[in-house]
């Protein structure tokens, strides 16, 4: 990579939600460690995928990075400015450059506002007067995301899920931000509509040079859209690498297991490949295992894993892994094994 500086640099970010109990006098009895010390960088115009299973802290990380949630500790630098230090007023102004798209197109749009109102809101909040007037700017945006500008005065419930997601995208790109956090933007959509939205996001990125943090649990979708991918488990980053590398040469046992768990839409390939089936469930993020958080399900765990937390370290150019015993000599994760052997871990 050339000497471009990251647009977003997150260091040791922590977000804990207190667990309280008791009646009148609330006592804090513990914490959900939703995000527990993550570091990542996002460069201009690229897509960083953030993947992991439900509850691993992806959404919390995405929201905290934009300071939609107040971090417990850590630092967030956006274009060199420490977001944690800026005042609420400055933050509102900075939001012009940082937007968010949500998973649920049904609940993220105000049902009583027209599409026109929804898409013009960012201009009004920021006091921006677009050249040519608001109405025509909104019409252009609607056209850009594949909506009919004549539907300016319609309400969200008159649109399908995919169209509502287009409304959310139009609102997010209205002020041409530099960064958009997309939280499961296609998870609620049918595959044919999902593909439409993924293509739209890719085109918009190309046109405007926006960087995405793309949060999702579907690893195929993430591979499709991301330049680099970070894998989370119980609030921590297990591995991060350029996406081709991560998918073909995963070094962390969890990444390996996660990739191997995805059924491939090709019957011959699917039925003749080697597969790792993890035992057990995810531990609770309020009481994560000591040492490596993956040790309760890892087939390679040794004593050291139960006492010492592995740090995220760089193993090769741009490839970081948090594991005491990273995988070596990996057979292609998605390869055709000679016989249909299942490897139960």
């Amino acid at each position: 990579m050339t000497q471009v500086s990251p647009i977003l640099k997150v260091s040791n970010l922590v977000k804990h939600f207190p667990i309280t109990s008791g009646g009148i006098f609330q006592r804090t009895t513990g914490a959900v460690k939703a995000v527990d010390g993550i570091s990542l960088e996002v460069f201009p115009g690229e897509t960083l995928g953030l993947v992991g299973e439900s509850g691993c802290g992806k959404s919390t990380a995405g929201r905290t990075v934009l300071r939609l949630l107040e971090p417990t500790s850590g630092s967030i630098e956006f274009e060199g400015q420490n977001l944690i230090k800026v005042s609420k007023r400055e933050l509102v102004f900075m939001r012009r450059e940082m937007q968010m798209i949500f998973q649920d197109p049904y609940s993220s749009l105000n049902p009583r506002a027209t599409v026109g109102d929804i898409i013009s809101a960012p201009f009004q909040v920021q006091g921006v007067k677009p050249v040519g007037g608001l109405r025509s700017a909104v019409g252009d945006l609607m056209e850009r995301v594949g909506l009919n500008p004549e539907h300016f005065n319609r309400y969200p419930n008159e649109f399908s899920g995919g169209q509502r997601q287009r409304i959310g995208i139009a609102r997010a790109i209205a002020l041409q931000p530099k960064l958009i956090v997309c939280d499961e933007p296609v998870s609620a959509l049918d595959v044919s509509i999902q593909a439409q939205i993924l293509n739209l996001l890719a085109e918009i990125q190309k046109d405007f040079g926006i960087a995405y943090v793309f949060v999702a649990h579907d690893l195929s979708v993430v591979r499709h859209i991301s330049d680099r991918v970070a894998v989370m488990y119980l609030g921590q980053i297990m591995e991060s690498a350029p996406s081709e590398l991560l998918y073909t040469e995963p070094l962390h046992p969890y990444t390996h297991a996660l990739l191997s768990a995805i059924p491939i839409p090709d019957p011959d390939l699917e039925r003749n490949r080697e597969r790792i089936i993890l035992s057990g469930d995810l531990p609770s993020p309020s009481n994560p295992p000591a040492g490596c958080v993956f040790n309760t399900r890892c087939w390679k765990a040794e004593d050291k894993c139960r006492s010492e937390r592995p740090v995220l370290r760089e193993i090769s150019m741009g490839h970081q892994v948090a594991c005491h015993f990273p995988e070596q000599n990996l057979i292609e994760t998605i390869s055709v094994a000679p016989t249909g052997t299942d490897f139960i871990a």
Binding site: I193, A195, L198, S220, H224, P263, I264, L269, R271, I334
Partner: protein, 344 residues
């Protein structure tokens, strides 16, 4: 004919309609298929295509003033549509069972796990509580619940999502049904847990010889599990074939679109080829091909036939049926030009 070749379930010309304020919803239109003992039939299609309603209907679970079910469903030779509801209810939970996406919808929140399963056994079998408990315990162990004695005394909310799904699978299989309908059984689960549950379903099917109707929108799950596949669109089957043929020789534009829409995990496909437009409204379905408004190939069919005449589901080879006016040559040319399916 060997026992495994025996047809267990035969669905013929199934229709389901709902009268609503907006008009008549044709949720299932002329659906027909056969399912053999011990085999898995996957039903795939987008949201609202009629997957769940068609399966509920054959279990006698579509009821209510506004619903009308017609057609024929033979379960082991017995016609279920229009049959005495009591006799259908006796089959349910015994010889045929169902699992849902959300286990909480079939597990009662206020009763202990163990008691619910014991009840499920005793409803259909005249055995005492002790015997039923032994059977339940064995089943829960079989589906991989740890610390069974303790878990049997717990309530559904005390279990993780994966464990609840195991309990529900155990409950549905407790009476060793011949038919299991699994409606998106793993959609709410994480991939690592999904892999566990699919493995379990396959093992249990081998062990008990259960026939499975697997409803899913995940083509990866289909590739893993199915013997045969029905692709549904707008309430009808638009293609029906053995699983390899669906993936390697898909025969009609909607199936092509579905396959081209999925990002592949095994290779980065540069550009997805989505199906334009949206799924149809089931009120006032078009009189021609239901897929015509979104179909990129209808111009190849002469005389605007696609707009005027609904194609029949017809055999294009021994075991492969599709509902489309394109000719065999046209299909072959398109598949070759667009690299759809496996290239010869």
């Amino acid at each position: 004919m060997s026992e495994t070749d025996e047809v267990l379930l035969s669905v013929r010309n199934l229709y389901v309609e709902f009268a609503t304020d907006d008009g008549l919803v044709s949720a299932v239109n002329d659906l027909s298929y056969d399912l053999k003992r011990g085999k898995t039939l996957a039903i795939v299609g987008e949201s609202g295509s009629g997957k769940s309603v068609s399966s509920m209907a054959l279990m006698g679970l579509v009821a209510g003033m506004n619903a009308k079910v017609s057609g024929e469903v033979y379960f082991d030779g017995q016609q279920l549509i229009g049959a005495d509801p009591e006799s259908v209810r006796k089959l349910r939970g015994d010889r045929m069972a169902m699992i849902f996406q959300d286990p909480l919808s079939s597990l009662h929140p206020f009763f202990r796990i163990g008691d619910q399963l014991v009840e499920a056994v005793q409803v259909h079998h005249d055995i005492d509580k002790k015997q039923a408990q032994v059977r339940v315990k064995a089943m829960l162990e079989r589906v991989g619940i740890p610390d069974v004695d303790q878990r049997m005394n717990e309530y559904p909310h005390q279990l993780s999502g994966g464990m609840r799904q195991r309990v529900m699978i155990g409950m549905s299989l407790i009476n060793n049904p011949e038919l299991l309908i699994a409606d998106e059984p793993t959609t709410a689960l994480d991939v690592t847990v999904q892999a566990q549950i699919l493995e379990l379903l396959k093992d249990l099917q081998k062990e008990f010889g259960t026939a499975i109707i697997l409803i899913t929108h995940d083509l990866g799950v289909v590739a893993d599990m199915a013997d045969e596949v029905v692709v549904m669109y707008g309430g009808s089957a638009v293609e029906h074939a053995p699983v390899r043929e669906i993936f390697y020789e898909p025969a009609m534009p909607y199936t092509w679109g579905l396959i081209a829409s999925i990002p592949q995990i095994s290779a980065k496909n540069a550009h997805l080829d989505p199906i334009p437009g949206n799924p149809p409204s089931l009120i006032n379905l078009p009189s021609g091909c239901v897929f015509a408004p979104r179909c990129a190939f209808k111009q190849l069919v002469g005389d605007d036939l696609c707009e005027h005449e609904r194609p029949q589901l017809s055999l294009i080879s021994l075991e492969h049926a599709s509902r489309c006016h394109l000719t065999e040559n046209q299909r072959t040319d398109i598949r070759r030009a667009r690299l759809i399916g496996r290239q010869k």
